[in-house]
């Protein structure tokens, strides 16, 4: 049985369609041309500046930085530092995410929302440096110090994102469940949490994007292992190529985790939603 779809495929493309496809192809080609041109020009300028304007020890070029990688890799400090930093992120951001998300859900209760309102504002606007140094001066190198700092810098962002979901809750569903005497607990589990799921995911992604930065910052001041520690040591020894190798490797690692893994998973997880929303 020939459906309309089949027919459409059989009919030859009109001249207009051909023209559009050609145009689109040309656009893609142009875009890639300029993109690659951007990489070449910017990396080239960087390399040129490093060898002609600045001392290449102080401003290493991209080639130098790449050359340092094998040495760092072989030194065995790579695995150790990554493990230290990731453990820190795991523990402190885990706590902060849990608290932040619960607080976000709890903003349905207006008393709780009022109570924590100012703490959210403060958490969003105050710099991570402040918490890092405060935690350090109170607890020294002990774990409480960095847990304190990472927790206070990230929980507000998680809460804000979850609370944004709470504000978008389908009011009619809530009202109906109330009218039919559904218990508060069941309402949370069956209406609120499923509705919030995408917001919680976004909160996780945004929170992580800040958590790794703050973690590295606290390590600069208060640790003897980790990426931040290695960065500080390298910069104190004026080994800027090593400094950039550490910084860029973790930068790429964190971005990959954030954009590729979390974002892709988010999309996969909520594919059903998109179909509904259109």
């Amino acid at each position: 049985m020939a459906t309309t779809l089949d027919k459409k495929e059989l009919t030859p493309r009109s001249a207009e369609e051909e023209r559009l496809i050609a145009l689109r192809k040309r656009d893609t080609r142009r875009k890639w041309f300029w993109r690659i041109a951007g990489y070449v020009v910017i990396l080239g300028t960087w390399q040129w500046f490093s060898s002609n304007v600045f001392n290449s020890r102080i401003v290493p070029g991209p080639i130098q930085i790449v050359e340092v990688f094998p040495d760092l890799w072989n030194s065995g400090r790579f695995a150790e530092s990554y493990a230290a930093t990731l453990t820190r992120i795991g523990i402190s951001f885990g706590l902060s995410f849990l608290f932040g998300a619960l607080l976000g859900v709890a903003t349905q209760i207006r008393w709780v929302a009022g109570f924590f309102k100012d703490s959210i504002t403060i958490g969003l606007v105050s710099p991570g440096l402040v918490w890092a140094l405060t935690g350090l001066v109170i607890w020294g190198f002990e774990p409480q110090g960095w847990i304190f700092a990472i927790f206070l810098t990230t929980f507000a962002l998680v809460t804000v994102n979850v609370a944004e979901g709470i504000q978008a809750l389908p009011k009619d569903l809530i009202d109906m469940s109330r009218a039919f005497g559904v218990t508060t607990w069941r309402r949370q589990r069956e209406i609120v949490i499923p509705f919030l799921a995408p917001f919680i995911f976004t909160a996780l992604r945004f929170g992580f994007s800040i958590a790794w930065k703050v973690t590295v910052l606290t390590e600069v001041f208060s640790s003897n292992a980790g990426i931040g520690f290695e960065m500080r040591v390298a910069s104190q020894l004026f080994r800027m190529d090593e400094f950039w190798a550490w910084a860029l490797s973790f930068f790429v690692f964190a971005l990959t985790l954030e954009k590729l893994v979390l974002q892709r998973y988010e999309r996969k997880f909520f594919r059903w939603r998109e179909e509904v929303s259109h």
């Binding site: 929302a113 109570f115 105050s126 710099p127 607890w139 504000q167 994007s209 400094f243």
Partner: protein, 318 residues
Amino acid sequence: MATPVGSAPMQGSRLRRAFTSPVTARILFPFAVIAVWYLIYYTIDSRIFPTPVEVLEFMWEEITLTSGVRYSSVATNLYGQFGISILRLTAGFLIATTIGTLLGLAMGLWKSVDAFFHDWVMAILAMPALVWALALSIIFGFGHTAPVLTVILAGVPFVIVNVREGVRNTPKELIDMAKSFEVPQEKITRHVLLPSLMPFFFAGMRYAYSIGWKGLVIAEVFGSQVGMGWTIKFWYDAHRAKGVIGYALFFIIFAVTLEKVVFDPLARRTFKWRPALNAYQLAEGDFGAVSQEGFLLEEDEIDQDIEVTGMEGRSHDG
């Protein structure tokens, strides 16, 4: 526990109602913080950890200039340090806005320029300010250069991304129509392009300013001998917890004041409608760049005892 249909939650006495109101909760918050502070004070065994009273005394001495601490010949006291930081921040911010607007316009108008810079702008946006602070202070040593450059690098991607989005967001039909009615270009720019660009431009500046400030204090720790960042490091190096916490509170007061007294009213006046996207949704960026509008309930709403507030005026994506 099932709530009966139509039960009135405020049957209790006036006192109970007053206690359960969100405003009371908000007032209670600082007291809770002080309570937790004392809890930490009595549980940890630290000789340097101060009580809130000690910190407040320290802050008061700093404000009234009676502490007797003379930081340096350039900036002797709190006000001097703040002044230098604000000057640096403003300089960096102005440069970042200029560069960001030009580049953002170019990227919004021409696809080739956009393809050329896009990945690099995103990379700079996601780079921690700490990396700039450390690298630049090694390159330029102590002085104004490293802190100001850190502000620029931390802030400029936010301006670029927002201005670009603003240009793209301009309704094309309006421009087409204006053109077909032979409206002069200058008028199109003034009445179509600028109004639709403004909210985005403003959002970009706001993020650039607050992110720039967070970067600045880090840069001042490593690449400067004056400024707010340097001052908190000074107290940290001196192992005076009350100094660190006192200055931390100064930072927070400054940041909150900036946000509530300067940016919020400006934002309300500059554009009545919010841009559909904030910098975060475009490219997940840095601390606190998420808009706080629409979060929780506004003060005047809190006073009302309506159980569910309406959703009017709250824009959401999708």
